[in-house]
């Protein structure tokens, strides 16, 4: 890693976004370093997915500062986000059921050999990405509609690795998965971190979040409501921050987190 590890890969400062009367995000701060998994947790409608959309260029914030590697940037579109090295897996995965695994991984970014698609090379690369992530996809030629929910999630994660991004945003990757599939997805997240990527993990499952993340950032009503070290924070304190059970303590925790 040649970059200075003290400069965050992505830094959001005072991000605000409103939809009419709805305050989706109010002055949200977030830092993600390389080689780090930051979990974004919060109640329904806390602004987690909205923040993911801001990071991936789907939504543009009304105000606030986005810095990548310490330089101020705007992310006006998903392709701009991709160019900045940000890859996102949305909750609905956005994959095509009628296409096979390889086509899905390279969708919109197909490799060409002259005027023709270079199927052989794409298939080879797909296979090597799946092997790198130690993914259990039976075949790169299987149509997506035949895969299980966990395997589709795996394909969506594999898709993010095309063009070697530096930051991967995963929106609820383990929702609606069996335990074995969750185990696989959590293992991929560990792999992504080991490969040096920064990861933003959005999830409701405290168990999954605490298993793989380094830091846990709580959003509540579109505002930051605490930041925890995943190794030392207890379930209770995180849940309290999510539900707003102990406001004064949260204030103190937030100050302590700021000191850290």
């Amino acid at each position: 890693m040649s970059e200075n590890p003290r400069v965050p890969l992505l830094s959001l400062r005072q991000i605000s976004l409103r939809f009419g009367a709805v305050e989706a995000l109010v002055g949200v701060d977030l830092d993600v370093h390389a080689h780090q998994v930051v979990a974004l947790v919060g109640d329904n409608g806390a602004g987690k997915s909205t923040l993911a959309k801001v990071i991936s260029g789907v939504l543009t914030p009304d105000s606030g500062l986005i810095e990548i590697d310490g330089e101020e940037q705007t992310i006006p579109s998903p392709s701009a986000a991709h160019a900045l090295g940000i890859a996102t897996v949305f909750q609905d995965l956005a994959l095509c059921g009628n296409l096979d695994v390889t086509s899905n991984i390279f969708l919109g970014r197909e490799l060409t050999d002259g005027a023709l698609l270079d199927d052989g090379r794409m298939e080879q690369m797909a296979r090597s990405i799946l092997r790198d992530l130690t993914l259990r996809i039976p075949s790169v030629r299987t149509p997506l509609s035949e895969l299980s929910a966990g395997q589709r999630q795996a394909v969506a994660i594999a898709r993010t690795l095309i063009g070697s991004p530096r930051l991967v945003v995963l929106d609820e990757p383990t929702a609606a998965l069996s335990v074995a599939q969750t185990a696989e997805v959590l293992t991929y997240i560990e792999r992504l971190r080991d490969l040096g990527h920064g990861v933003i993990l959005i999830s409701h499952n405290m168990n999954d979040v605490r298993a793989v993340s380094d830091r846990i950032v709580v959003l509540r009503h579109g505002r930051n409501n605490g930041s925890f070290d995943a190794d030392t924070a207890s379930y209770e304190s995180i849940l309290a921050a999510i539900t707003g059970a102990t406001t004064q303590d949260n204030e103190m925790m937030r100050r302590m987190a700021a000191l850290r």
């Binding site: 590890p5 075949s139 790169v140 069996s178 335990v179 074995a180 560990e190 995943a230």
Partner: protein
């Protein structure tokens, strides 16, 4: 020419066996897609492997079409090995010949809760069985390794406070009620010792010690080919030997235990100001990659663990010390100082000096040991002709007495 063709065939066979292993079970069409071999080649090789008894096939359907599901062949009866570590759970299915047919790892949160973890373990066992096309009826037993001393008579954690929240619960009962098969619980270092002494680095020796250096440190003692657990299952708990009389209070209640000096948090703390917040995995990887700070932390841990192990080695006089656990992945970085610390203290035997070697089974040692524990504890599993005969004789005698 024919030589290179047959070696290509050999490589393709190996690729197919490896792929089936990785997936647990998959159809011939999927095998072709996964390996990149042609359907005809896959079909020929699967036929050969089937004849050689390496794989099994059975009919199944994929999207309405008939298909041949290929799995690794296993003898009747499956054993399940579960290792619940501080941050990971590893589950393996093995057949009676101790061949691992499927395995899965699940990351766990720090201080994971008993109810959630056992629930997930049970669901993972069911999922893995389904993956290899088997059911719970085929399971002869489940072996569980825990990072705490376990009383072999009751299968409960025998020292309070070491695994928070796991003290009062009969782990074996919870899982055997849920899955309907016998469950055997043991300390993870004991299972590692069992695995290494039967299939790994110390299989040639009758007396050996297995040291597990991970988030916590433990040891398993093998005397005369048998794992020595002690009266309450605390034999070999070197993580709770005092090394620093002025040290921190350990979770066991004593002061300055080895675990407070070389346990996960203790290894990470000195790196916090220079390297930032790291996970144990990061320290190991960076030490391997040549980061001097991380390598130093690992080396110092090796020499402190070596001091404690030398005391154990003097008491037990093993022929060999096998070092496993995550920290052992750093190889000589850990082993060198550990060996040096032992050599300085243990009485030198001129004829056969004490060997300090890395574990051969790596991260799998504990689950392999759990499988071995199940197979040893289960009577009706036929392990060899000789054992089968003696089992038959015993059954015959029992019938005669009734």
């Amino acid at each position: 020419m024919s030589g290179s063709q047959s070696s290509l065939r050999e490589a393709n066979r190996a690729l197919i066996v490896e792929t089936v292993h990785r997936h647990g079970g998959l159809t011939q069409v999927e095998l072709a897609g996964s390996t990149g071999l042609s359907a005809a080649t896959v079909s020929t090789i699967v036929k050969e492997l089937l004849a050689a008894g390496v794989v099994d096939t059975r009919n199944t359907t994929r999207s309405g079409r008939r298909a041949q599901m290929v799995t690794i062949a296993h003898r009747v009866g499956l054993a399940v090995g579960v290792h619940i570590g501080p941050r990971h759970m590893r589950i393996a299915l093995g057949d009676v010949m101790n061949e691992v047919v499927a395995e899965q790892t699940l990351p766990l949160p720090n201080e994971h809760r008993l109810d959630t973890s056992l629930d997930r373990a049970a669901l993972l066992v069911a999922d893995l069985l389904e993956r290899v096309g088997s059911t719970l009826d085929e399971v002869v037993g489940i072996g569980i390794g825990l990072p705490a001393p376990v009383d072999s008579a009751t299968g409960m954690v025998s020292v309070r406070g070491i695994m928070r929240g796991w003290d009062e619960v009969h782990v074996g009962h919870v899982l055997s009620k849920r899955l309907g098969c016998p469950v055997f619980v043991d300390n993870d270092a004991n299972l590692g010792a069992l695995a290494e002494s039967t299939h790994g680095a110390s299989r040639a020796y009758r007396d050996s010690v297995y040291v597990r250096a991970s988030h916590g440190t433990g040891a398993g003692i093998v005397i005369g080919g048998q794992v020595h657990r002690g009266f309450g299952g605390t034999a070999g708990e070197i993580g709770h030997v005092q090394v620093d009389p002025q040290g921190d209070i350990c979770r066991c209640g004593s002061r300055g235990c080895l675990d407070t000096v070389v346990g996960g948090p203790a290894l990470l703390e000195p790196l916090r100001s220079s390297h930032g917040t790291l996970a144990l995995r990061d320290v190991i990887q960076r030490a391997i990659d040549g980061d001097p700070g991380c390598a130093r932390v690992v080396a110092d841990a090796g020499s402190i663990i070596g001091e404690v192990v030398s005391g154990l080695a003097t008491a037990v006089n093993p022929q060999c010390i096998v070092v496993g656990g995550e920290l052992a992945e750093t190889g000589e970085l850990l082993l060198g100082p550990l060996r040096e610390a032992i050599r300085q203290r243990v009485l030198l035997n001129q004829i056969a000096p004490l060997e300090v070697v890395p574990a051969e089974l790596g991260q799998r040692a504990e689950v392999v040991g759990a499988l071995e524990l199940v197979l040893r504890s289960t009577d009706f599993v036929v392990r060899s002709d000789e054992q089968a005969r003696s089992a038959d004789e015993r059954a015959g005698e029992e019938e005669a007495t009734h």
